[in-house]
Amino acid sequence: MDLSTIIELLGSTVRLGTPLLLMCLAGLYSERAGVVDIGLEGKALVAAFFSAAIAYVTGSVILGLLAAIAASLVFSLIHGLASITFRGNQLISGVALNFLASGMTVLIAQTWFGQGGQTPALGDVRYKPITLPFADTLEPVPVLGPVYHDLISGHSILVYVAFLLVPVTWWVLYRTRFGLRLRAVGENPGAVDTAGVSVARLRFTSVLIAGLLCGLAGSYLSTGLQAGFVKEMVAGRGYIALAALIFAKWRPWYALSATMLFGLLQAVALRYQNINLGDGIIIPVQFMNVLPYILTIIILAGFVGAAIPPRASGEPYTKER
């Protein structure tokens, strides 16, 4: 494997890992506050649809992005109402939203565009790659040049946003008042309540942050990674992001490594299909696709250190003495 292949593979890893990273961070905010969000998938799906649809209709990527975020936030609000205000089962609320997204996007797409549940191809109305300063000047420099030009430079804005969100999330979580309260409400909401802080408001805030991030992820999928919305285009990434979240033990920097590892697996699967190890031993492409889940099961079985979720995650808060 030569340098250019490796760079290409890693570049593809970054692009495929970005939506996972955004959704993983979304799940992190939500679950750290004690709200399990299995609806990442659905939120990203409505976001992907509205991003592509509005971008196509208005010719503006920005309006597409705003529409994506708005749609995802509406879904988050529903999830918040069901699981925080009315103390419903968080898994059921999330699953319901996934079904709703899956049916609704295709239905609206068919009504608006009549192309079998897709949006028309976006052509040029997409996130443009950003060329970082000196990328072209430095290209001839051996090794570092191509790495900078082809791997670090040349991605769309949302990729940089996603990577920047990792240190930002770490800082918010561990260095701010909001982060302290967020972590506390996911561990022991009773402690937060008796300290005179509203549990519901904190949880709503974090669920809405999750919605915002899923909006970015969805928009990136349909308007950056691909050129238009197709049916079920999130394709299980929401669940892989949840798996990555467990893999990452609910920590931001680990989330980066976990999602990039899963991104690499996808990149390899995409590029090589079946991998021939010689001697007739072939790793089928399906194996690469299930690997994230297998890794997660291994983690959950406790082979690589215990993954302990926030103690109060999944439990609606009711006052008791």
């Binding site: 008042r177 982060g179 302290l180 506390a184 008796t194 300290a195 005179g196």
Partner: protein
């Protein structure tokens, strides 16, 4: 007296949860710089009243006055702003946060943590020196002993500049030495002019530390008296509404042959931690062996092994016949077949099925007995009739066998369990925490039943964290600490202080009243524990 405004005045507070009137028209005045006790049985409405004062619940009617001004306490934030702090029975701490993080939570200065943390460190240091409350600010809560966790709760309130401190059943989880230390802290706080409201069901604590005491019964305030002018007997009568026997009335024991013999018993839990480290003892017919100890020192595991819930190594013989400690024949059913009755420590999880009716609960564990079979089916009619008779004999209220277990009060739930185990006439009865969460009136009855079984020549193993209960009920006392038996004493020849030291892992006699030495050894023990955990 009249020109000082009360620190707290409640006027006509009422609160209902559905059909249950938890608080009915309650008025109370707490003077500043005093310790005011609130005593009452479980479910009398003490905790509800205090939760209303702390803004955790909202009263249906009534007014709260703080320092002579009407306060509108709508939530905990408002209570904190009014200078009220509360230490809940179940601590409200984030277990994997450090002490300092728990202290600043909700009381941060500004949006960033760093300035808050350094300010809190400074304040914690001052408070520690002022009130003898030393805690490592960087220790994680889960690594602290229960006593220290409680200290953090008090520090939290003081950090928020509380002038009025409410403590809900603070000593339930403490060793006697820790409880003494807590009372010294409270005394210091009182000297500094703080007002303290102490909720408890323990008469001894009320008599020891409070200035005034209010008694609650069934949601109402029945009396407020000066502590110096009352007696435990009077308070108990006010609580229950009738005369109560506070001492267990029993004759000296007449021990017979050995019923149960335990030799070199080792128990390792499923995390691989050795919980019981080679203990041996005998129990004879007609005697009550009490196991004292702070919760978590191996008593529960001992009970579980004897009751057939956990596996172990070592030797136990029941009336001469060895009992298997692992594999076939070591389960709870086999133990019951060997005539061992078991009243588990956690009656709601292990003693009863809360969603099932009382009559179903009176037969579990013995449901395969021939007398309850009718061909291939169970003779539910007979079981139900027998359950009604048992409930009558054990004075279970209400005496309705069709009521679900969860709808009975704690004391009546315990009576259902006791009825099931005692009525089968076991040779050995294992009793864990028989009166935890049980009203004074029911405690009296439960103790009498246990003594009656002893007088019928049966052996009884009693495990309890209530030292009073151990002292008054046992014929012989063994103290467990860290999986070992620290020593055996006769109730008549020991006292709470000696047992308290054994419970803390200190054997031998320290100098009289030499608390410094005791504190130091306690601190050493705690440090050792902390280093083992870390």
């Amino acid at each position: 007296m009249t020109d000082i405004a009360p620190a707290i005045e409640l006027k006509g507070i009422s609160k209902a949860f559905g059909p249950v009137q938890a608080n009915k028209d309650i008025s109370i005045r707490v003077m500043p710089g005093t310790i005011h006790g609130i005593i009452g049985e479980n479910g009398a409405g003490k905790s509800t009243l205090m939760s209303i004062l702390y803004g955790f619940y909202k009263a249906d009617a009534g007014e709260i006055w703080v320092d002579g001004r009407k306060a509108d306490i709508t939530d905990s934030q408002a209570a904190i702003a009014a200078g009220i702090g509360m230490v809940f029975q179940h601590f409200k701490l984030v277990e994997n946060f450090s002490v300092v993080e728990n202290v600043i939570l909700g009381a941060e200065d500004g949006a960033f943590l760093r300035p808050s943390v350094s300010k809190a460190r400074k304040t914690l240091k001052q408070l520690a020196e002022e009130y003898e409350m030393h805690v490592d600010p960087d220790a994680l809560i889960e690594h602290l002993s229960v006593g220290h966790q409680q200290r953090v709760e008090i520090l939290k309130a003081l950090y928020r500049e509380a002038n009025i401190l409410i403590l809900d059943e603070p000593t339930g989880v403490l060793t006697p030495a820790e409880a003494d230390h807590l009372f010294r802290i409270l005394d210091n706080l009182r000297k500094e002019g703080k007002t303290i409201i102490l909720i408890t069901h323990k008469l001894r604590e009320i008599m020891e530390i409070t200035d005034t005491v209010s008694v609650m019964r069934r949601g109402q305030m029945t009396a407020t008296v000066k502590t110096a002018e009352t007696s435990p007997e009077e308070l108990a009568e006010l609580m229950v509404g009738r005369k109560v026997l506070l001492r267990v009335d029993k004759q000296p024991p007449t021990p017979g042959e050995v019923i149960l013999s335990v030799k070199d018993l080792h128990v390792t839990d499923d995390k691989g931690v050795e919980r019981v480290k080679g203990i041996s003892f005998d129990i004879r017919a007609g005697e009550i062996l009490g196991i004292a100890g702070v919760a978590g020192n191996g008593q529960s595991e001992l009970m579980n092994v004897l009751g057939g819930i956990m596996e172990a190594s070592g030797q136990i013989t029941m009336m001469g016949a060895p009992l298997p400690l692992s594999g076939k024949g070591s389960d709870g059913f086999a133990r019951r077949q060997a005539n061992i009755g078991h009243v588990p420590e956690d009656r709601q999880r292990e003693g009863l099925i809360m969603e099932f009716t009382a009559w179903e609960n009176t037969v579990f564990g013995y449901h395969l007995d021939p007398q309850w079979q009718k061909g291939p089916l169970m003779d539910n009619k007979a079981i139900r009739a027998e359950a009604a008779a048992k409930m009558d004999r054990f004075d279970v209220r209400p005496p309705d066998p069709d009521l679900k277990a969860k709808n009975f009060s704690g004391g009546n739930q315990q009576k259902v369990v006791l009825a099931r185990e005692i009525e089968r006439n076991p040779d050995l009865l294992l009793v864990g925490q028989p009166t935890r969460g049980v009203d004074i009136g029911a405690i009296e009855f439960i103790h009498q039943e246990i003594v009656r079984l002893r007088d019928a020549g049966k052996a009884i193993l009693l495990v309890s964290v209530e030292l009073d209960e151990i002292m008054s009920l046992s014929d012989r006392i063994a103290v467990m600490f860290d999986g070992k038996i620290m020593g055996e004493r006769l109730p008549a020849q020991t006292n709470e202080r000696e047992l308290g030291l054994l419970m803390a892992g200190i054997s031998g006699e320290p100098g009289k009243e030499d608390w410094k030495a005791v504190e130091e050894s306690l601190a050493a023990v705690e440090q050792e524990e902390a280093s083992q955990n870390g």
